[in-house]
Assembly symmetry: none
């Protein structure tokens, strides 16, 4: 627990007010001479602009000035955890396992697997096994699980995620997450053996168990036409984050379509709500869950995907789609609503970036400023100023009347 | 000493220049849809506006984003101490004792007392003993002191503060501030016995001594018509803050009408100057003390009181009164003057709040910005930006030419 979280924990009180945090992934963009407007600024967003007019704007520094975060740290910071603390470098294995609602315990090491296609000499020819459909992935996971369920005193759990992606979770005494990825990251190369970068007895045991699993899996997959190989990545344990309930007295839920975001929410102690793939589906899930929680996190993925593709118009279209749905969200009457991103994904950079993220907060005491449109330049002028994402949760709790005064 | 204070201590030099810090308690407000102007913005303040025009504006974060501080932490931060450090959570007993110029040493535990009225069964019927006048409070303190001056090897000091309020200070070896308040905070309940939350020998000794004091006091007060009972609160030791002189090479004085603010100043090593109750009285005290100090802190209380009452017009009137007196202050020709608050007290919230505080700094090198009125929205646009109160003292020292360059 960081000193800031200890402070919030000390001051937080349970009240009836409700907070809604909406993360439009990779929301922010930048201005260049050739591309003087961001996706958020080119998008027609009458509903966001109206909310900005009666709310307050600002900007969030996701990790630190100049630091470009991945989605994991970006979200951890929004949830109040120090995104740069070594103990918060959460491996994708743990995120993915939580994202498919697989409950981790401290005897487990989780990894994220990809099925791949190997040639006769064991070299990778397709890193995604021809993007086999999810049904195929599910069938192959069942087949593996049927043959391999235990190695020595370690239980092995094989669970499908989506298409060619799965989780392999190892559960037993004395295991460690020190195993390197077995993915050579390139076609034409052979998959790598299990290697522990820690020469501890737990590291050696885990290395041995994972290698036995890889060897057995190789036999089981031998007759598959496409998915005849696998790589494992992101070996990780549950980081044991203090929960939203423990930290902030919040009963929280997470609504997200991708396992990673469901995973981060789950690790923070949020209940992960079932939902469909469209933003409208997510809003339906939000509506049905809203009565049972006092904090909801809703994640919209496609702003980021379009940014990564360098598709400014596509990103603007996703923002416009969200804007059109915003009135139905506001009908839930959250006491405090925040709309922001986990990092910027400027279309001109086709990647995550280090720039401050646009932030909109609306609540009874948000301090309405003179801004009347939600955009990067307006956010620079907003009354919330520029501060670190890690501090956002405190601001939202304060706006919702959920923090007592500090000191006499 | 925080790392920042160690840095300032290393760089600070004694010079002839003088700094004046004026704290208008709870100065800042917020904008809402229904109340689009703050007290500071509605007040007619030609003198503050003129000073803003030839000075620089900014905003202070009193403790941390989202954190609402009490007056103690709010002032500690303005004086350069980390307001959130656990060792800086100064109990009201120590603040109150310092506020009445009672010099604490490290063998003392101070508590803040209230006389109250008890019924025949010992239940509180009036938590303020009918607000007996200060003369009555003084007489009763003398009566108590006459009977109780020593318990075991502990000297007991009973000192009046104002009306029904007093300080009880226990001085002796092996005492600890771990005693809970004896105030049940509610009429109809009996006062509580002395209880230490630490089961140390010092805790047990202090508990025993305080209980003997309460029992003896109960006998002495038995024949009083109104003040026939007492409660003790905020048991605290001197936190041992490094002084303004040690930290910043400043010979500092404090001018405030309320004990708490005099107390915080005193704990920071400021000389507390006698003064009357009106702002004009405080300015007279400032004028008479000005020649002897190179740093003066002057506190104006009623901005906060009106904010707490939800009285925006009343708060604006206090600001206007101060504005009218500002020219006489400026005649002292401080090299650097800063006008700000210890926290915001928005009238619409009727309480302290977490919002950034308006800040005005005038000095030869303050960097005059384009703002020409002292108000929250203008402060957002000022050249000083938004930063933590804890850093203000360094900015004032720098503006006064009292900080050497760091490094070659």
């Amino acid at each position: 627990m960081t000193p800031h979280q200890m402070l919030l924990k000390k001051l937080a009180v349970k009240t009836d007010s409700k907070i809604l945090l909406i993360v439009l992934d990779g929301l922010g963009g930048i201005h260049t001479v050739d591309s003087p407007q961001t996706a958020l600024e080119t998008a027609r967003t009458p509903n966001l602009d109206a909310l900005a007019a009666r709310g307050a704007l600002g900007r969030l520094i996701p990790a630190e000035v100049g630091i470009t975060p991945g989605s994991g740290p970006g979200h951890l910071a929004l949830f109040g955890y120090d995104p740069l603390a070594p103990r918060h470098e959460i491996g994708r294995g743990a995120l993915e396992a939580c994202g498919i609602n697989f409950a981790l315990n401290d005897r487990m090491v989780a990894s994220r697997g990809n099925f791949c296609t190997l040639d006769g000499e064991g070299r990778i020819t397709d890193r995604r096994a021809g993007r086999i459909p999810s049904e195929e992935g599910g069938r192959i996971c069942e087949k593996l699980q049927g043959v391999i369920s235990r190695i020595e005193d370690v239980a092995v759990h094989v669970r499908p995620v989506k298409e060619y992606r799965f989780c392999a979770i190892f559960e037993g005494p004395g295991l460690e997450a020190s195993i390197e990825d077995t993915d050579p990251q390139q076609v034409g190369l052979k998959t790598l053996p299990a290697r522990s970068h820690a020469q501890t007895s737990a590291g050696k045991k885990t290395e041995r168990i994972v290698q036995v699993f890889l060897d057995k899996a190789s036999e089981v997959l031998g007759d598959e036409p496409k998915a005849n190989g696998m790589v494992l990545r992101g070996f990780a344990k549950d980081p044991g984050l203090p929960s939203f309930s423990e930290l902030y007295q919040l009963t929280a839920c997470a609504i997200a379509t991708y396992p990673l975001y469901r995973g981060v929410g789950s690790l923070a102690g949020m209940e992960v709500i079932e939902t469909g793939q469209a933003v409208a589906d997510e809003i339906k899930s939000l509506e049905s869950a809203w009565g049972r929680y006092d904090f909801a996190f809703m994640h919209v993925k496609k702003t980021d995907s379009n940014g990564e593709d360098g598709n400014l118009a596509g990103k603007a279209a996703v923002i416009e789609e969200f804007d059109g749905l915003l009135p139905s969200i506001l009908e839930l009457k959250p006491d405090v609503i925040a709309i922001t991103g986990d990092h910027c994904t400027p279309s001109v950079m086709k990647s995550h970036s280090f720039h401050p993220i646009p932030l909109l907060v609306h609540g009874p005491f948000c301090d309405v400023d003179e801004t009347a449109a939600f955009g990067e330049t307006q956010c620079l002028r907003g009354s919330l100023g520029t501060f670190h994402s890690e501090k956002l949760i405190g601001l939202l709790l304060a706006n919702a009347g959920k923090l007592r005064k500090f000191g006499a």
